[in-house]
């Protein structure tokens, strides 16, 4: 365990060193990331400023949901979601093989060598948005915080599942960065209160592919208005992780029985 942590820290250190080799690029890419991420909350802000609203949620509540959504990606994208581009790039370049000659699990190596400092912009944005929304609503009690932390952790589990699925596609679909679009087109459902969607969509995003877990479910818990089907979403998140892992392993087996 200690060795694993040491290894991840070393991976982060190397990745930071790589990005910082070009100083201007390092800061600019974090800033651009921050600007891109600020777009959705800005739209929400404009909607509310113009008198419209998401039914049943005031502006800061809506922003809190988006803050949690951004925070969840702000942690997963730099720290483990890099396995996706890392896989796509390595398979395309033929350097995926080099991970197989290291005495660690290939998945761990993909994560260690896939740290993405650029996405720290998402983390910064998430922290800012989350904090700003939080100070503008009644401060939640300890009980709500504890439930929120558990659900937020589950949101990272869902992100990990997505990472596995996209990385699995990256092994067999050579050089296809479009896999990110699959993710975003589904994941963005998690950034809005579920009650704005139809019943079928709500069932889909809580019980089947639990993207509601990425923002809405943990945030509504923190707001003291727990979402319907929270427990189902937790169970389906764990099932989702398990299925993703099986999928990744199957794709990996295809790789080393067929060759790159």
């Amino acid at each position: 365990m200690i060795n694993a942590i040491k290894l991840h820290l070393q991976g982060i250190k190397s990745a930071l060193a790589v990005r910082m080799a070009y100083r201007a690029d390092f800061f600019i890419s974090i800033l651009i990331m921050l600007a891109v991420e600020a777009f959705m909350p800005l739209v929400t802000y404009l909607i509310y400023k113009n008198g419209a609203s998401l039914p049943g949620w005031n502006m800061y509540e809506a922003l809190l949901i988006q803050g949690v959504f951004m925070l969840s990606r702000g942690i997963s994208f730099p720290f483990f979601f890099g396995m996706v581009w890392n896989t796509i790039q390595r398979v395309q370049e033929g350097t995926f093989d080099l991970l197989l000659i290291k005495p660690k699990s290939v998945l761990q190596m993909l994560i260690v060598t896939g740290f993405d400092s650029e996405d720290l912009g998402k983390l910064i944005g998430g922290i800012v948005l989350f904090t700003v929304s939080l100070v503008n609503i009644p401060f939640p009690g300890l009980g709500l915080w504890l439930k929120f932390i558990v659900l937020f952790f589950v949101s990272l589990v869902v992100m990990f599942g997505f990472g596995l699925i996209l990385s699995g596609f990256g092994i067999v679909w050579i050089g296809n960065f479009r896999v990110y679009e699959i993710f975003f087109s589904i994941a963005n459902f998690g950034m809005y209160p579920a009650n704005i969607f139809s019943k079928a969509v709500v069932t889909f995003i809580t019980a089947i592919i639990p993207v509601a877990m990425l923002g809405f479910v943990p945030a509504s818990q923190l707001l003291g208005r727990p979402a319907e089907g929270t427990l189902i979403a937790v169970v389906s998140s764990i099932v989702f992780l398990f299925v993703s892992l099986l999928f990744w392993k199957a794709m990996f087996r295809r790789y080393n029985s067929a060759g790159g």
């Binding site: 991976g11 197989l100 000659i101 005495p103 699990s105 080393n256």
Partner: protein, 323 residues
């Protein structure tokens, strides 16, 4: 015996795409599959401390064999036992004890100094500090790269980078090291340095398996040569045996006083007749002994000058590849 390979077979499924637009368009929906037999039942074994060269033309199955031996690929069938492991089954435990250098794929990190990449390997292999420092200092000195390991990798020349690749691959003191075209594109001096390094590590007991197209690598490093062609092993013996594999032929160049007598005799193949007094030929000493040949020439003319050479290894290899 630390490596034992029995009847290794690897078959790939590949898809035929065609080359006209129509064929490509059709292949988007219906693909013809074709089975490619990359390796067709190779068997060999290697002892500890050996330095074995793998030769073969492009696409002969060398890299596939090497990928199976390093645990990257599953074979279709066959048995492989290396250091008591089956590479693709006990991959993690197994690869901790081997190293690999790929001439065309870098394990270093492009934008940061090799030293940072070494440190990443230190964490991956959990190498203790003292071992790491000792091994690193030793290899850095042996390869003469003291001033380079702290420079960003992208600023290093190919030769300098290759030396660092070797350090990267050997920091964890592997017992067997696989080298896939390690001297590709290097200048004479860098090649020399790397060959010296390989020989020195081999002297210390490290087993090396190397694939190359550089026959200099084979002549200077390998004591044993395995030649693979069309997925089959067509030769496995010492380098001297390789040279005499296709008959004991010698390259002879003669200059005579009187015109050279007719050379259309058994055992002699004229390669280049420069003039009536001067010729280069290939002599098969199994058919015509050298003294017989000299007698024959001297009887009809007088030898002024004569040089005698082994057939260059390139010629031998060329003949093997075209079989």
């Amino acid at each position: 015996m630390i490596i034992n390979v029995e009847n290794l077979v690897k078959t790939f499924k590949s898809y035929e795409r065609g080359n006209t637009l129509k064929e490509v368009a059709v292949s988007l929906f219906v693909r013809k599959t074709k089975l490619v037999e990359a390796v067709k039942g190779i068997s060999f074994s290697i002892d500890k401390g050996e330095l074995v060269g793998f030769l073969g033309p492009n696409g002969a199955g060398k890299s596939t064999t090497l990928k199976v031996l390093t645990g990257i690929l599953f074979p279709t069938s066959g048995k492989v036992d290396i250091l008591g492991y089956t590479p693709w089954k006990d991959r993690k435990k197994y690869v901790a004890r081997i190293g690999a250098v790929f001439g065309q794929k870098s394990q270093l990190l492009w934008d940061i100094p090799p030293l940072d990449a070494f440190n990443l390997n230190k964490a991956i292999y959990s190498i203790p500090d003292s071992n790491f420092n000792k091994k690193l200092n030793y290899m850095v000195e042996l390869l003469g790269v003291e001033n380079l390991v702290k420079k960003p990798t992208r600023l290093l020349s190919l030769g300098e980078r290759m030396k660092c690749e070797f350090i990267m691959a050997m920091l964890h003191s592997p017992e067997i090291v696989f080298l896939d075209e390690p001297t590709i594109g290097l200048d004479v001096i860098a090649k020399e340095k790397i060959r010296e390094f390989i020989l020195e590590m081999n002297k210390q007991g490290v087993t090396f398996i190397l694939t190359t197209h550089d026959l200099g690598d084979i002549e200077q490093l390998a004591k044993r040569v395995i030649v693979i062609n069309h997925g089959e092993m067509i030769f496995d013996n010492t380098i001297d045996a390789l040279k005499s594999h296709l008959g004991t032929k010698k390259l002879v160049s003669i200059t005579t006083q009187a015109p050279i007598p007719p050379l259309e005799i058994p055992g002699v193949l004229v390669k280049n007749k420069l003039s009536d007094y001067n010729a280069e030929l290939e002599l098969d000493v199994n058919i015509m002994e050298l003294n017989q040949f000299i007698d024959y020439i001297n009887k009809n003319s007088t030898i002024n000058d004569m040089t005698l050479q082994e057939l260059p290894i390139e010629e031998v290899i060329k003949k093997l590849y075209t079989i």
